[in-house]
């Protein structure tokens, strides 16, 4: 009897302790990035170009702009494809061959390491175009968004009850109106939530950018050009080992972390399925 109680107590203590310990890396990383990053921050840091090597000062303005441009392009490609395939799988598939193949494609794509998507974009676009380009980066990132948005759209639409659908049919509405206005209207929140989370997710993705948008020390001059991004800047500067560059990498990390975590926290706040 005693032995059993002791065992129970022991497990209780172990699990409590380990759960508490997992809070340590989170707090450590966040505080570390805030403390080391804050010293780099200034208005100049956010709005100006990197200084030439060896000179003090300079900023990461082009990388901030680059990340936003690449993300925006990825959304332009990824969101419509994600939402449309989600609608198709939920409302129009009827067990056809295309839908089975589409489901396999989406399930598999969601498990593919992001660096492979970068290599894919490199082989498909960079090699054919002949130079590094932000378009290839956006393409690689959009492939990350498609499964996330598609699955959430499909699940959101499938929760719409038969009553509502039948009511709409009884009103004589055609199917496409029902799908867009009523079913998608109800599933709207899961589409928006998943789009925001996918946006946050791609904002932190670095591996797909390494061989596609590469990096640039200038302001973005066109979409079909190499482009700086916060993620690649953090990697390059942190790995360079130069004191002043590492400080800039911490500053960039702080901005990136603020962007990604604030989206995640906001979505958690406002989404209904906080568990």
């Amino acid at each position: 009897m005693n032995m059993r109680r002791t065992k129970d107590l022991l497990m209780k203590l172990t699990s409590t302790l380990i759960t508490l310990i997992m809070a340590v890396p989170l707090l450590w990383i966040i505080l570390d990035v805030i403390i080391k990053g804050a010293s780099a921050l200034s208005l100049d840091f956010i709005i100006s170009l990197p200084a030439p090597f060896g000179e003090v000062g300079g900023g990461i303005g082009n990388a901030i702009l680059g990340t936003l441009i690449i993300n925006a392009m990825a959304c332009v490609i990824g969101l419509p494809l994600g939402i449309a395939t989600g609608i198709y799988l939920s409302e129009y598939s009827n067990g056809s061959k295309i839908s089975a193949l589409l489901r396999t494609a989406i399930d598999t794509l969601s498990g593919i390491p992001s660096i492979i998507l970068g290599l894919f974009a490199f082989s498909l676009i960079v090699i054919r175009v002949g130079h590094y380009t932000a378009l290839a980066a956006a393409f690689a990132l959009s492939i990350i968004m498609i499964p996330v948005v598609s699955k959430a759209t499909e699940e959101g639409m499938k929760t719409v009850s038969v009553d509502i659908r039948e009511g709409a049919i009884a009103l004589g509405l055609p199917k496409w109106v029902i799908t867009i206005k009523i079913v998608l209207g109800i599933a709207k929140s899961s589409v928006i939530t998943s789009s925001l989370l996918a946006f946050a997710r791609i904002s932190g993705e670095t591996a797909p950018l390494l061989f596609t948008s590469l990096f640039s020390y200038y302001w973005p001059r066109g979409l079909n050009e190499p482009m700086a991004s916060l993620q690649v800047l953090i990697y390059n500067y942190a790995m360079s080992g130069f004191e002043s560059w590492v400080v800039k990498a911490w500053g960039a990390s702080l901005l990136l972390m603020l962007l990604v975590l604030s989206i995640n926290i906001l979505v958690r706040r406002f989404s209904t399925k906080v568990g």
């Binding site: 059993r4 109680r5 065992k7 129970d8 497990m11 209780k12 699990s15 409590t16 380990i18 759960t19 997992m22 989170l26 450590w28 990383i29 966040i30 570390d32 990035v33 080391k36 494809l81 449309a84 395939t85 129009y92 295309i98 193949l101 589409l102 396999t104 989406i106 399930d107 598999t108 498990g111 593919i112 390491p113 660096i115 492979i116 290599l119 082989s123 498909l124 598609s150 055609p174 867009i180 997710r201 932190g204 670095t206 591996a207 390494l210 061989f211 590469l214 993620q231 953090i234 990697y235 942190a238 790995m239 990498a249 911490w250 990390s253 990136l256 972390m257 990604v260 995640n264 906080v274």
Partner: protein, 308 residues
């Protein structure tokens, strides 16, 4: 008239959906096609060397992938060995022992850990964790039990050990949040039945919750494994990118390579040498095959677990 135009729009709408679906399927097929296409020059020249060869020297066109492949498998396996018990403890605390008031905090911590970009794990591991671990953990261990080969020195701060540790932190949120979901689905009547027989909480967990959740937790573990295998930035920044491990040194504290770190650190310079470039893409193809087979297994198992 109205009916006709509706019919027309219905058709357009359906066609658009079908086209987008075909585009996504096309991307999926192209992905495999272009990776295989780019791998062929290397596979043709190196053959099985890419799987079993132990050295890598682009100048002499020697491309043996074994250290990178083993590095990927080993670092992920270590991460899994740590992450699985930790995740089970978190899930137990969340669903059984811990106060309900703490639940939002725990899931918040897990969500944020999962959301932190891997390049930030990388910079933290490289500049903060690595020096601390080197002085306070690796060096004392090497000094005391360094005669055991896997703990032998010298202490490289950047090592396969550090990579595994960071992977552990990165995949624990994945495994634990799925485990929490599964644990909380344990049928109430089974739990209450055990409690009515006078069982302690731990006995209920061991005899009711674990058997119920077994398959789901396994699937979650495999999902975490898939994530660890493909993780690039954090690993590349902390593993040291050398080909020492495991053929020249078996020490956990030696710097090593993984498939992803090899690709990330060499790819840009490889563009000028077709075989070098193609060999890196062959490694990616091997990684792709590993991670797809793993996800496939997880899928089969989790589908079975729905039944009970």
């Amino acid at each position: 008239m109205k009916y006709k135009s509706n019919f027309f729009f219905e058709k357009i709408f359906k066609t658009i959906l079908k086209i987008t679906s075909l585009i996504v399927i096309g991307i999926f097929i192209l992905l495999f096609y272009s990776l295989v296409e780019r791998s062929i020059p290397s596979l043709f020249q190196n053959g099985l060397e890419i799987l079993f060869g132990t050295s890598w020297d682009p100048n002499f066109e020697i491309f043996g992938g074994a250290p990178a492949i083993l590095g990927t498998l080993f670092s992920s396996a270590i991460a899994l060995i740590f992450a699985l018990p930790i995740s089970l403890c978190i899930a137990i605390f969340y669903t059984e022992y811990g106060p309900v008031r703490l639940r939002p905090f725990i899931s918040g911590i897990m969500d944020l850990l999962a959301a932190i970009p891997s390049v930030i794990y990388g910079i933290w591991g490289l500049w903060t964790l690595s020096p601390i671990l080197k002085i306070n953990f690796q060096e004392p261990i090497i000094a005391s039990i360094g005669f055991i080969p896997i703990f032998s020195g010298p202490a490289y701060g950047l090592s396969i050990f550090l990579a595994s540790l960071i992977l552990t932190i990165m995949i624990t949120p994945i495994i634990s949040s799925i485990s929490i979901d599964i644990f909380s689905k344990t049928p109430m009547h089974l739990r209450e039945g055990m409690f009515a027989l006078g069982a302690t909480k731990w006995e209920v967990i061991k005899n009711v919750v674990f058997p119920f959740a077994k398959r789901g937790v396994f699937a979650a573990t495999i999902l975490g494994l898939g994530r660890a295998l493909g993780e690039t930035m954090a690993v590349t920044m902390v593993i040291g990118n050398s080909y020492l491990w495991p053929f020249k040194s078996v020490s956990l504290f030696a710097s090593a390579s993984t498939i992803t770190s090899k690709i990330a650190s060499e790819f840009p310079e490889s563009v000028v040498n077709l075989i070098h470039n193609s060999s890196l893409i062959s490694l990616a193809l091997i990684l792709l095959i590993i991670s797809i087979s793993i996800n496939f297994v997880a899928e089969i198992i989790s589908k079975k677990s729905v039944g009970g």
